[in-house]
């Protein structure tokens, strides 16, 4: 009898296509996809969404989210999204980028899109390496972290310090919301979803540019098991990339 009353309390959102992903075991892109999919449904914009996907591991995002998509050249997703939004004002337009895409080659585009206050949303997945091309050093690679292009660890003197993107974006005039969340445990995932909801609402309520950074793991390129990589977010990444809201125009400015 108990089976009769049984309720399905968790299933994949409709916006996420039922298909195996190409991501490595333990990669947090899948969690980020699910959060995006759930929010598009909850905000009621699923049918009107245009996704601008980037270059990197997230390049095949259009295979996983059941929305219309434009594939942008490397780093240019915010510029393409600006154009899409200008042409289709009534659609919900968001870009989904990794750190190799957004923080290095796409630095100019993201800063100017934020500064102009474009009514778009950007989801920024930060895993501190170039994942797709084999784990090269990214602008967000932590000091001392070994990658294929800094085999003895990133050196502050030679390569500079890791860039904290959310803080930079929060300092620009057109940004309506900027926050950093993490995907390493259930509490942080729930919090990250709240941040993403606020960032998306900046567009639906016509307030301005919404930006969310999500700290995520790349077990393959960190040369760790998925569980170790997940722990590294807590022990190494969060101390350098503190979580929280950095700008929320609803609450009168920066944190």
């Amino acid at each position: 009898m108990s089976e009769m009353n049984e309720k399905l309390v968790f299933d994949r959102p409709k916006a996420v296509i039922d298909r195996p992903t190409h991501y490595c075991p333990g990669c947090h892109h899948g969690v980020a996809h699910r959060l995006v999919g759930e929010l598009l449904e909850e905000l009621g914009v699923f049918e009107d969404t245009i996704l601008v996907s980037s270059i990197g591991c997230s390049v095949f995002l259009y295979n996983y989210l059941n929305v219309d998509a434009v594939e942008a050249p490397h780093g240019r997703a915010p510029a393409v999204a600006t154009g899409v939004k200008a042409a289709r004002k009534d659609n919900f337009v968001f870009a989904y980028q990794g750190d190799g895409d957004l923080a290095s080659i796409g630095m100019a585009e993201i800063l100017h899109a934020a500064n102009r206050g474009e009514k778009i949303s950007v989801v920024f997945v930060n895993n501190t390496v170039y994942g797709m091309t084999g784990g090269q050093m990214a602008p967000t690679t932590l000091i001392g972290q070994r990658t294929t292009t800094c085999p003895s660890g990133r050196c502050l003197e030679h390569e500079g310090a890791p860039i904290r993107m959310t803080e930079i974006i929060a300092g620009l005039g057109g940004t309506a919301f900027a926050a950093r969340g993490s995907l390493d445990n259930v509490k942080n995932i729930r919090q990250a979803k709240k941040y993403m909801r606020k960032a998306f609402e900046c567009q639906t309520q016509n307030k301005g540019f919404g930006f969310v950074e999500l700290l995520s793991a790349c077990p393959t390129n960190w040369k760790m098991t998925p569980v170790q990589a997940n722990e590294r977010i807590q022990t190494e990444m969060i101390p350098y990339f503190p979580l929280g809201v950095y700008k929320d125009t609803d609450e009168g400015g920066a944190c």
């Binding site: 009353n5 049984e6 399905l8 309390v9 990669c27 998925p226």
Partner: protein, 78 residues
């Protein structure tokens, strides 16, 4: 009783689900799936401990876990 259903052809054996389970019932099986990953499972004798909290499903990067929950009977119900 609550329970989870692991979609074995999607599971990649990352075992992040086992790190967040409050009752620690998710383990790695000895079975390989079609992709060659050792899938996560809950042994049949432990399934009744499942609280239906959905933590494992929330952290699963491959959306391979469905969670079913049976509402508790109210006092006085047959």
């Amino acid at each position: 009783m609550s329970r989870i259903a692991v979609q074995e052809d999607r599971c990649k054996g990352c075992m992040l689900c086992s790190t967040v389970c409050p009752v620690q019932i998710i383990v790695q099986s000895e079975r390989f799936n079609q992709s060659g990953y050792k899938v996560a499972e809950v042994p049949a004798e432990d399934m009744e401990k499942c609280t239906g909290c959905t933590s494992c499903a929330l952290i699963c990067p491959d959306l391979a876990i469905r969670v079913y929950r049976t509402p508790k009977k109210k006092k006085g119900d047959e």
